[in-house]
Subunit: 135 residues, 2 copies
DNA sequence: TTCTAGTTTATAATTATTCTAAAGTGAAAA
DNA sequence: TTTTCACTTTAGAATAATTATAAACTAGAA
């Protein structure tokens, strides 16, 4: 994803492309593979990479803005960690609690044959499958 | 579940049946239906029900001891809430983010037809399905 | 009854996240 | 191009959930 695309991506979702947002967006979206991170890990990586320090609150703000805009997926797993995922397509996860690592599973690799009806008055928003791993 | 069974349940899992543990265990396990709670909600309910106040730290300790002993199931959902579930059999959940409510789904009500292999050197511990609800 | 490891307790500490309000800045309009 | 202002960023305070600490308590073995 080129810089111009990053700018479009931000603008088209109503986000003013500030210096900080562009820097974070480039870091997150200019890569081949999907990327899983927590705000804390992202903060560390950005601090290491860049000379200009972005405030932690800004990283929180930005990550949530990206999530609301649909550019990031939020994944909640055991251990009170909130992960974000640059893969926003419908998919599932392996979770390795030994390493606290989250691994994508393509939506096509899990087929659910039978599913219960939603309770009265409710609809199904989405189905998330977690496959917890052990050694 | 009668009082004698509560005592056995505690003793057989190596937990000394203290006044506090017995009171919490009776509250949790002497009921027909499965019960979902957070430490906070449990604390409120116990405070209301009983005259003797149990320290919040004790409720944390006890709930975790019960979980380790396999008497409670921990379920982590969106919003940084940690729920516990008196249903320790293999099962799944609806999650209603409007009401922050967790609803059990019997393991037999979801059939997964296709599942990916675990990454190299890892095994599948368990599979958790979350069906997120909307109105 | 005595003794001790296990337990409870109040409180402090920690961790993750959100709030606040002051200073800074994109970009539309003049 | 300059001005203007709503949107952003920022440091630090506040909040919330949980864990750690260390002193007092207690179940149950001896």
């Amino acid at each position: 994803m080129k810089k111009i695309d990053i700018l479009n991506k931000l603008r088209s979702s109503g986000l003013r492309p500030t210096k900080q947002r562009v820097e974070i967006a480039k870091f997150l979206f200019e890569r081949e593979k999907t990327f899983h991170f927590t705000v804390e890990s992202l903060n560390k990586l950005l601090t290491k990479k860049s000379t200009s320090k972005i405030a932690l609150a800004t990283i929180y703000n930005t990550v949530h803005a990206f999530k609301t805009a649909g550019h990031l997926n939020e994944v909640e797993v055991r251990g009170n960690k909130t992960y974000f995922d640059t893969n926003v397509s419908n998919h599932h996860h392996f979770y390795d609690s030994e390493t606290s690592e989250l691994i994508d599973i393509d939506a096509n690799d899990i087929i659910i044959q039978k599913i219960p009806k939603a309770p009265n008055g409710k609809k199904i928003k989405n189905v998330e499958v977690f496959i917890n791993l052990k050694n």
